[in-house]
Symmetry: C2
Subunit: 189 residues, 2 copies
């Protein structure tokens, strides 16, 4: 499945971990590197050797964005894999049961009307590439895994983006979050 | 995973197939019985013996229903497994790529404002129990599998419900649909 992405925390991979911080809830064991793998099957149960943890999720259709937002995002959102984007952040999140018990209009209202999630994100484009992976329905420990990529010169802007999002009412529904920062140094250990 | 349901078409199970009709797109091979299994793992790859096909999906949070609709549905929607509900329908559906490319507000508008999907459904409650399973993100052949249960005296009402939904603009986005009707006769072959 092309929509399946796996993030393997261990001693291998092109991305070297520069920090791993437990934002709230249970953390993840520290690792040296993260390998990003696209594809494979949901039935791949066994972890590769020297892998401490695996985060998985599926890219999917938009869940909250309306047409005007989809068009704005599409117009300025950069792709992942840009040569200059040697910095990354891997942020798995789990939301409280209370979030998932909300109706669609209530979630959308908190997401956008109150929290301005998309609006905040748009402010920091086109510097930051973003790929969202859905994990909740797979029975994974986290509900979402988001992967961000940016050039070193945009590191401060990215920091502001993360703090702006964490200051929103939407983030009151987050019960577990880990913030992993990485640099691509090309060494596949 | 308690949210995973598998529908095994073959010669086993409490539900006997009374009709299997290809509504549009590729059909499914005819079978005698369907076994409904809750739980198990997404990693269960092998089909049990004498199984011609398997439909799988996950129950999940609501995707379009707003608070007033969630409350109305919760107030009058019956549970599955009622003793008198000896009739069932198993309807897997795949929607066109054009549907999934729409933004959330566009899908919601077609779903409810134009097609009155929830409103039509509410008309036929509390006679018909319904359980929706999401399959698309699992890489299954269908996007959704819906299971309906009703007493024989409500068979005509259920027929009207299905035809009312198929007459909506939302159904223009359906590219594959099979309609399987069943009765519970308690014989586990």
């Amino acid at each position: 499945m092309d929509t399946l992405y796996s993030f393997l925390g261990g001693s291998r991979g092109a991305w070297r971990v520069t920090s791993l911080r437990d934002v709230c809830g249970e953390g993840l064991p520290p690792v040296e590197r993260v390998e990003v793998v696209q594809g494979g099957s949901l039935m791949d149960a066994a972890l590769p050797p020297a892998t401490a943890w695996r985060l998985r999720g599926l890219t999917s259709h938009v869940r909250y964005a309306e047409r005007s937002e989809v068009d704005q995002l599409a117009a300025i959102q950069p792709a992942t894999g840009r040569v200059e984007a040697t910095c990354a952040a891997l942020i798995p999140i789990r939301k409280k049961a209370a979030w998932w018990a909300l109706a669609q209009d209530e979630r959308r209202a908190i997401f956008e009307s109150v929290s301005h999630h998309t609006e905040i994100g748009l402010t920091y484009l086109p510097a930051v590439a973003r790929r969202l992976h859905h994990s909740r329905d797979l029975g994974e420990a986290f509900d979402f895994v988001t992967w961000f990529e940016y050039a070193p010169e945009h590191a401060v802007a990215f920091e502001k983006l993360v703090y702006a999002l964490r200051a929103t009412p939407e983030w009151n529904y987050v019960e577990r979050e880990v913030d992993i920062r990485l640099v691509r140094d090309g060494q596949h250990a």
